[in-house]
């Protein structure tokens, strides 16, 4: 925990002077409070002795001065510390996302987006607490202790020592108690909150199923189970907080009482001027303001370090990956060659075994095969979303291993099997592929996938919002939007994964036509279960169980009469029989 703590602290070192300044002003705020209370009690005690007014002038000015300075200091302290905090927040977010992006999806497959969302919002907010609530209060406390020691020492070293013992005693004992009590709970709160968020995101995205299947009760139960634990932990945390708040108040009053016990005999003997009896006790009361902040700091410690741990998890995973020495060389030639590629997601079984094939620049290649055969896995590897275990891939003359993923993705566009669109307008979603495209160009691409009439029927045309994940479009429409997005990119290699699986035959025909009409230099990899117009492909690769079982042109494969022929026959049996 201490290690994590210092790691978090080191993240903010860029702003250390600002934080120091905030702490200093924080001290000045407390100091002004002490000054205000001490001078005013001095003033009235002196006045009670009928001191001539001119002797009180300084005290009167002091009262006014401290009165105003306290408010102003407080304002400044809050402003500065919040400003720093939010700057850190922005910095941490960027830091976190920069580490996260490279490891998605291969290293984060076991983390849900709800969990990552909690990390990127709550956890980052939690570690930021370290800077305001954990670091500065002890600093303010020490400064206040020194100030009070010096002040009390003017009257008697005994007071100073007694005070410092009680003062530091409460500043250590109470936070220590808080820390002991809250240590496990803080961690628990972080984890439970994340769990609750995960569960909520997952449930909301499957809300149709939950409602349809009448799962409302069991869903609510599960939500409540997590929530109850969370609320229970938060409740205990609140109680700890009130415990230390009331203990601090008690410590203050007891310290004052102790001080009275020691000082009263001195007043009686005349060792202490009676005027200062009230000055001392009221000053002590004001000084305790700086103790009040400390237990809270310790209460947040376990929460913040747990949050920090969760963030470092991601960041460290990223550190182990390095794409640093890769070239950004311009790729020449787009011949794609796979040599003995094998790949496994987990040690379970091979998703791809010994895959070798080549796709020359401008070739149109189809990949077909059973569901689960490894077709989409091939896409993941060709786009470097996942790293293959053995074998080599060459593009042009370059080995994939020395090319950066940015470099590779610049020349390959993908229509993924799973539709992934962003909340926003149609136009915004298309522009992800390419900047600065005119509306008419967008419309042209959209018409190639048969979406032009839909867009024209929409009141807001290209600026229509498509809802989360494109939910406001029909299944086929959203799929076609992702096709348009890939086409717009105009890259040398385009991969279509089940691009036509969700559209009718006429629309499919239109899409196939569009692909046929792509410039002859573009390579196309077309993954499909719908074996229509297969003669348009220069080569068809047939996958089964992660292996290539056969390949060739449509006519060649039909003639062979193997797996491919079986696929075609299954598809066409009914229709050919009837027509």
């Amino acid at each position: 925990m201490i290690k994590v703590f210092f790691r978090i602290v080191s993240l903010g070192k860029e702003y250390k002077y600002w934080m120091l300044l905030a702490a200093l002003i924080g001290f000045l705020t407390v100091g002004s409070g002490i000054g205000l209370m001490m001078t005013s009690s001095y003033l009235i005690a002196k006045a009670a002795l009928q001191t001539p007014i001119y002797q009180l002038q300084v005290a009167i000015v002091g009262v006014r001065f401290f009165g105003i300075s306290r408010g102003v200091f407080r304002y400044l302290e809050r402003y500065i510390s919040h400003n720093v905090t939010f700057k850190l927040l922005a910095k941490f977010r960027v830091w976190f996302f920069t580490a996260l992006v490279p490891i998605v999806p291969s290293k984060t497959i076991d983390l849900t987006s709800g969990d990552l969302l909690t990390r990127s919002i709550e956890d980052i907010e939690s570690i930021e607490h370290i800077f305001v609530r954990v670091i500065s209060p002890p600093f303010i406390f020490v400064a206040t202790a020194i100030l009070m020691f010096a002040l009390l020492n003017i009257f008697s070293i005994t007071y100073a020592i007694l005070f410092i013992i009680l003062f530091t005693g409460s500043a250590f004992a109470i936070p220590y108690l808080t820390f002991l009590l809250s240590n496990k709970i803080g961690k628990k709160i972080v984890l439970l909150k994340s769990q609750l968020k995960e569960f909520t995101v997952d449930s909301l995205q499957g809300i149709s199923e939950l409602i349809f299947y009448g799962q409302k009760d069991s869903w609510e139960n599960e939500f409540n189970k997590i929530q109850d634990q969370l609320i229970n932990a938060e409740y205990r945390m609140n109680n700890i907080k009130s415990l230390h708040e009331s203990l601090t108040g008690l410590a203050m009053n007891l310290t004052v009482a102790m001080m009275l016990l020691i000082a009263i005999p001195d007043v009686v003997t005349g060792a202490l001027n009676g005027v200062y009896l009230s000055v001392i006790s009221i000053g002590i009361m004001a000084a305790f303001e700086s103790v009040a902040q400390i237990p809270q700091a310790f209460q947040y410690l376990s929460k913040s370090t747990e949050a920090g741990k969760r963030l470092f998890d991601i960041v460290d995973t990223h550190k182990n990956e390095d794409e640093i020495n890769l070239t950004e060389s311009a790729i020449t030639g787009y011949n794609l060659r796979l040599e003995n590629i094998s790949f496994t997601y987990d040690t379970n079984n091979n998703a791809l075994s010994n895959i070798s094939f080549r796709i020359n620049e401008g070739e149109r290649v189809a990949i077909v095969g059973a569901s689960g055969a490894g077709k989409s896995t091939l896409v993941n590897i060709l786009t470097k979303l996942w790293d293959y275990n053995t074998g080599n891939i060459f593009i042009g003359n370059e080995n994939y291993k020395v090319l950066s993923s940015t470099n590779i993705r610049n020349i390959i566009s993908v229509v993924p099997q799973k539709v992934q669109l962003f909340t926003g307008t149609i136009k915004e979603n298309l522009l992800i592929a390419k900047d600065g495209v005119t509306d008419s160009e967008l419309m042209r691409v959209l018409s190639e996938v048969g979406l032009d009439s839909l867009i024209n029927s929409l009141p807001d045309k290209l600026n229509t919002n498509i809802g989360e994940l494109g939910q406001k479009l029909s299944g086929g429409e959203s799929k076609r939007l992702t096709i348009a997005r890939a086409l717009l990119r105009n890259s040398p290699i385009i991969i279509f994964d089940e691009a036509t699986s969700h559209v009718d035959n006429l629309t499919e025909k239109k899409i196939l036509e569009t692909i046929k009409e792509l410039p002859a230099t573009k390579s196309v990899i077309f993954i499909t279960h719908r074996l229509n117009q297969m003669d348009m492909f220069d080569n068809i690769i047939v996958l089964s169980n992660g292996r290539i079982v056969e390949s060739g042109t449509h006519t060649e494969l039909l003639a062979k009469g193997n797996f491919y022929k079986k696929l075609i026959d299954s598809q066409n049996q009914n229709i050919t029989l009837l027509s």
Binding site: P105, T200, S208, L260, Q420, K472
Partner: protein
């Protein structure tokens, strides 16, 4: 402004706790006053009346007792407020969950999950301070000063007047700043909510952003969003701090004024030191409730802004129950009843064209009806109405004699097995995912359903078989595997009605053929509705309904439709003579 009636009404059920909190707060103030009285008596005794430690020892003991009492009071006050907070949070979330359920999936799904999650979890959290700090403080800020005035007036009416004159300045000023801050806070909260939604969007779409080399832009945007959030937040906080500053300065200056004023009167000997000291000690306590109100003011405001968001969900009209007719209490499902659709039309909010335009068809019992047509023709929309996810804009659906709207949604859905176009798999294991359609199903039943859906072999080849984890939304599965697991879900339901939306869209022809053949066999005595683009799967259907642009354009079985030589035939032979 800050006192929100609707929000206050949530206290109902915990009213007692709430008043106990206020009462204990008040009692704590009484002890504070007594402590001040004692302290001034002790100091006065020693300072002016030459009393010794013995003389004041009883007083000191009482002082210590009171200090302990005060701590206990404060602690129990916060104890109650912690439990109030738990109660409030739970009841808000409960309300929200119920509402989310009744809004219906379609309206909800196109909303942003991140925003709703943020409201449900963080929004409700923000209410914590409103209820535990701000609201009780609002009462205490009235009561405690009155209490103190009761003590002060008899001692010194002049100070009492200073109190009375300065006190209203504080709420007045808060009110002035409040209305500005309130607006800012609402905006602020919206920004935060949107940020949460944006992050979730990004997190779920990182792979796509990577494929299009857009991650740098996104990280830049996150930086931007965070920084603009910082600036906006600081603007809000500046106002909040300013109001706190004003409070602080008003309070301290008032204390200073009082100190000087009583000091001067002491000087001329027409005021007792003991009273002066008491007033000096109590003066800060007079302003403390206001200052605390100022401190919790920002938190209260945030809570209010968050509530606005919560309320937006709470007041959302319940789509499918708003128009419901009187329910049948004893609706008896009879499998021999046809589903009659009459003049059904539907227009999505924000759209100008009808998604369904005057549809009249009959789904015959114990027959297989197929729904085919262009992408975007309205097939899924029709299904959504049949599932009671949305209400038709006009027209009706009858189940035999009964209007569908007169049948309880749950009763109706209990008789349906459904396969959505894009099924959602939850972050649970395979068994739990399938069993969601029938909680009480035995493992044998689940295996049976999985076999029918052609996914059992795949599942048993996994290391953990039915207990295997599948990642978020089935991230560890292929597209076809997801579809088949969802199909197993539908089969497990074993309901008399089967509605399937593109059951074989991501499957290879061989698996497709097996599944379809089984489906026709297994459901020969049930009523089946299949939506399909792969026409080979519906050729043997008893009735085929062909849709285009929201209208039914042809109906009949395969042979009849071929003879019609219309749109169906055109779709069927889009790719030439054979498929």
């Amino acid at each position: 402004m800050l006192f929100n009636k609707t929000l206050y009404s949530f206290i109902k059920g915990a009213q007692l706790k709430f008043f106990v909190i206020i009462f204990l707060g008040l009692l704590a103030s009484v002890t504070t006053i007594l402590i001040a009285l004692l302290l001034s008596k002790i100091i006065n005794g020693v300072f002016l009346s030459s009393q010794t430690l013995q003389d004041v020892s009883t007083l000191i003991i009482i002082l210590i007792v009171l200090a302990v009492l005060k701590s206990v009071l404060i602690w129990s006050q916060q104890f109650f407020s912690a439990s109030l907070v738990s109660f409030i949070k739970k009841s808000f979330r409960k309300k929200l969950l119920a509402q989310i359920e009744s809004i219906g999936p379609l309206a909800l799904k196109s909303e942003r999950t991140g925003e709703i999650t943020n409201t449900l979890i963080n929004g409700v959290d923000k209410l914590e301070d409103y209820f535990s700090k701000f609201l009780p403080q609002m009462f205490l800020a009235v009561l405690i000063p009155i209490l103190i005035l009761i003590f002060v007036f008899p001692l010194d009416w002049l100070t009492g007047i200073v109190f009375i004159v300065t006190a209203p300045i504080i709420p007045l000023f808060m009110f002035l700043i409040g209305s500005i801050a309130e607006k800012m806070n609402k905006k602020q909260w919206q920004t935060l909510s949107r940020m949460s939604a944006y992050f979730l969007d990004v997190l779920q779409g990182i792979s796509i952003l990577k494929l299009f080399n857009r991650t740098n832009e996104v990280i830049k945007k996150i930086d931007q969003v965070s920084n603009s959030f910082r600036i906006k937040t600081l603007n809000v906080l500046k106002v909040a701090f300013l109001s706190a500053l004003v409070l602080e300065v008003t309070a301290t200056i008032s204390v200073a004024v009082i100190a000087v004023e009583i000091g001067l009167r002491l000087l001329y000997g027409n005021f007792a030191f003991i009273d002066a000291l008491f007033i000096l000690v109590i003066a800060p306590e007079f302003y403390l409730p206001f200052r605390m109100l100022g401190t919790s003011y920002h938190a209260g405001m945030e809570g209010l802004a968050a509530f606005e968001n919560i309320n937006n969900i709470l007041i959302y009209k319940n789509i499918t129950s708003s128009k419901q007719l009187i329910k049948h209490n004893n609706f008896n499902f009879d499998i021999n009843t046809p589903i009659i659709i009459k003049n059904l039309s539907y227009t999505y909010p924000g759209r100008e064209t009808k998604a369904l335009d005057d549809i009249s068809i009959t789904i015959q019992p114990k027959k297989i009806t197929a729904l085919v047509g262009t992408s975007g023709a309205g097939k899924t929309t029709l299904l959504n109405i049949l599932l009671r996810f949305i209400n038709p804009t006009s027209g009706n659906i009858y189940f035999g004699e009964d209007d569908l709207q007169s049948i309880n949604n749950e009763t109706w859905r209990n008789n349906i097995a459904w396969l959505p176009q894009n099924p959602h798999l939850f972050s649970k294991n395979l068994l739990e995912n399938i069993r969601i359609s029938k909680n009480k199903a035995s493992i044998e039943e689940v295996i049976e359903a999985a076999k029918k859906a052609n996914i059992h072999n795949f599942i048993s080849s996994r290391k953990d078989e039915y207990n295997s984890a599948i990642g978020e939304s089935g991230a560890k599965l292929s597209g076809g595997e997801i579809k088949r697991i969802a199909l197993a879900r539908a089969y497990l339901r074993n309901a008399p009605l089967l509605f399937v939306d593109e059951p074989t869209a991501d499957l290879d022809p061989i698996v497709e053929d097996e599944i379809i053949k089984d489906m026709y066999k297994l459901f020969s005595d049930k009523t089946v509705l299949i939506i399909a683009h792969r026409l080979n799967t519906i050729i043997n259907a008893d009735n085929i309904i062909v849709m285009k642009q929201g209208k039914v354009i042809e109906t009949g079985n395969h042979n009849e439709l071929i003879l019609k030589n219309g749109y169906y035939k055109k779709l069927l032979y889009a790719h030439g003579d054979i498929l």
